[in-house]
């Protein structure tokens, strides 16, 4: 994984001349997962899908809190 290599290099502060493309802000899930855990993730997403509030737009808009500490 490019990101992993880059981190290793920075940590050891060697090969600083090796230019690595900046990693996009959010790591892509699954980039390092195997197909077995992919099916596990799909199974998980199916379960989550079943319990998610039906109207996301309305729900998110109406979730308003007062400030606290």
């Amino acid at each position: 994984m490019a990101g992993q290599e880059q981190r290793r290099h920075e940590r050891r502060e060697v090969e600083t001349d090796e230019v690595v493309e900046p990693v996009p802000p959010a790591p892509a899930a699954g980039a390092a997962t195997t197909s077995a855990s992919d099916s596990e993730v799909d199974d998980l997403l199916d379960e989550i899908d079943d319990v998610l509030e039906a109207n996301a737009e309305t729900f998110v808009r109406s979730f308003v809190q007062k400030g606290g500490e």
Binding site: Q6, P22, A26, V41, D42, L45, V51, E69
Partner: protein, 528 residues
């Protein structure tokens, strides 16, 4: 130490309802005996809070804020004035209900306080001595919240009420999860600040709960590590509700003031994953131990307030922080520095015979940092931000969603929904996808039972044994109302490590009533 959680609250069927009134219902529902839980004791009422020792305006830097200059939300030493909540058009009964709700407070048999803080129900857990116990009584608080939710939702005439263990609505409001650590007064406050600022800048990679949206109102799209990072505006200060500081200076020790200060940490997120809570409290305790011993290396970073946000806004964990020395490190690498210092410190102190609690924190800390460097997704079973990001990325990939999609904001909020059947974290626990540290039976026990090794034991046991005779209580007092005495009898408990089961268990066992206890404590002084 102890943990406090202000819960997010909503009543889907009553969109315009006052959050103070809803929060009051939560506290009142829990303060009353559960339906079918046996005979209701006559006159049983919630235990009031004893405000005598509260001093929210005292500053650890050695001065006190002028009351007149304080914001109303800082005046937490008096029952809240809810007049501001009442709309002019509202009838008298609304004002009365608000007044009652704003005062809602109870002290639980596990030593915790459950009350309405601002416009949220808050569970302030009992004092504990280990990170594992901090986790246990924090989980007990989640169960208290669940039970209160169930009771309100089951009450005739009241609609469903939902509690969330999160810290922002994504629209500009934030509410806190606070940690409290007992620190000797002899430790200079500036040493605490110097150590804690860089530690808090980097701690989010472990303790962040994850958030969809960036900026206080979510004005920018994207994912970030922390719920709270965007709400901190200054490095050091007294406030908790506005201009929030990374290090809070409130000097309200709730203990013998000459000996102790209570470090009030407001920068953290509410964690649902037990390992995240263990590491949050355990690693902070280790840093404090090093400061106390004068052995904490200086890891100060440049522009820490901006750095907190930059770290939070970069889930790839690549952002480089600049230390005062000029060195550049990622937040994970900065956490490694803290871990290495802690390992060396513990080795100097304890050699090979490291106590199991400390050993567990050090080992888990190392494992998490190793996994974060290899592939953050490996931490999905232990860290909240990773567990949440895994779900979000899954849906993003499957449904080709952009970061401003309502579905993703929904997942962010519903992750923290405390209903077992609807909460996404709860579903992950149900699937065995979250590493747990305690059994459900241990958590259930902690809902009703105080920790044995702090004064929380005395407080909780007084409430359990003497019930109605406990007129009020606070962190450092129990106030008893006993027959034959015209005035209330206030028992101070200023030392957090006294009032333990070992110290006062036999005494309480001997005293069948609160009157017996007062007699024993006053050495048989005649009733006044």
């Amino acid at each position: 130490m102890g943990l406090e959680t202000e819960f997010g609250i909503s009543a889907p069927g009553e969109p315009g309802a006052s959050a103070v009134v809803l929060s009051g219902r939560v506290v009142a529902a829990y303060a009353q005996p559960a339906p079918g839980s046996g005979p209701v004791r006559r006159g049983r009422r919630p235990t009031r809070w004893d405000y005598a020792d509260e001093a929210p305006l005292r500053d650890a830097r050695g001065f006190e804020l002028d009351r007149a200059r304080a914001h109303a939300s800082q005046l937490t030493d008096v029952p809240p004035d809810v007049a501001a909540e009442v709309r002019p058009s509202a009838g008298l009964h609304v004002a009365e209900e608000l007044e009652e709700a704003g005062l809602a407070n109870t002290v639980l048999t596990n030593g915790a306080r459950l009350y309405v803080d601002h416009a949220h129900p808050e569970y302030s857990g009992p004092e504990v001595t280990t990170p594992r116990d901090a986790v246990l009584w924090d989980l007990a608080g989640d169960e208290v919240a669940r039970e209160a939710m169930r009771r309100v939702s089951a009450s005739p005439g009241l609609g469903e009420l939902v509690l969330y263990k999160n810290n922002t609505d994504g629209k500009g409001a934030s509410y806190g999860t606070h940690e409290n650590y007992l620190v000797p007064r002899s430790v200079p406050f500036r040493d605490l600040v110097r150590a804690l600022v860089p530690f808090f800048v980097s701690r989010q990679v472990v303790a962040g709960a994850g958030r969809v949206g960036r900026g206080q109102t979510g004005e920018q799209t994207g994912f970030q590590l922390s719920q709270r990072a965007d709400f901190f505006e200054t490095e050091v200060g007294l406030e908790t509700t506005l201009k929030r500081p990374l290090v809070n200076t409130r000097d309200e020790p709730h203990a013998t003031a000459e000996l102790w200060r209570r470090l009030h940490v407001i920068v953290g997120d509410a964690n649902l994953s037990p390992v995240a809570t263990l590491l949050k409290t355990g690693t902070t305790s280790l840093v404090l131990a090093m400061v106390e011993a004068g052995e904490m290396p200086d890891l100060s970073v440049e522009q820490p307030v901006a750095a907190v946000r930059a770290v939070s806004h970069d889930p790839s964990l690549q952002h480089l922080l600049t230390l005062r020395t000029g060195e550049r490190l990622t937040a994970v690498q900065l956490q490694w520095r803290h871990l290495e210092a802690a390992r060396a410190f513990v080795a100097r102190r304890q050699g090979d015979a490291v106590d199991p609690d400390t050993a567990e924190v050090l080992d888990r800390w190392e494992q998490v940092l190793t996994d974060l460097e290899a592939d953050p997704l490996r931490c999905a079973d232990r860290l909240d931000w990773v567990a949440k990001l895994r779900l979000l990325e899954g849906f993003r990939r499957r449904e080709d969603l952009s970061w401003d999609a309502a579905r993703l904001h929904l997942i962010d909020i519903q992750y923290a929904d405390l209903r077992p059947e609807r909460g996404l974290h709860a579903r992950l626990v149900g699937r065995g996808a979250v590493e747990t540290l305690h059994t459900p039976a241990e958590v259930a026990h902690a809902v009703t039972t105080p920790p044995e090794d702090t004064r929380a034991w005395f407080r909780g046991e007084c409430v359990r044994r003497y019930g109605d005779a406990v007129a009020a209580a606070s962190w450092d007092s129990v106030v008893l109302d006993v027959p034959g005495r015209t005035s209330l009898q206030r028992v101070p408990v200023l030392e957090p490590l006294r009032g333990t089961r070992a110290a006062v268990g036999a005494l309480l066992d001997r005293c069948g009533t609160a009157a017996d206890l007062v007699a024993a404590l006053t050495g048989g002084r005649p009733a006044s």
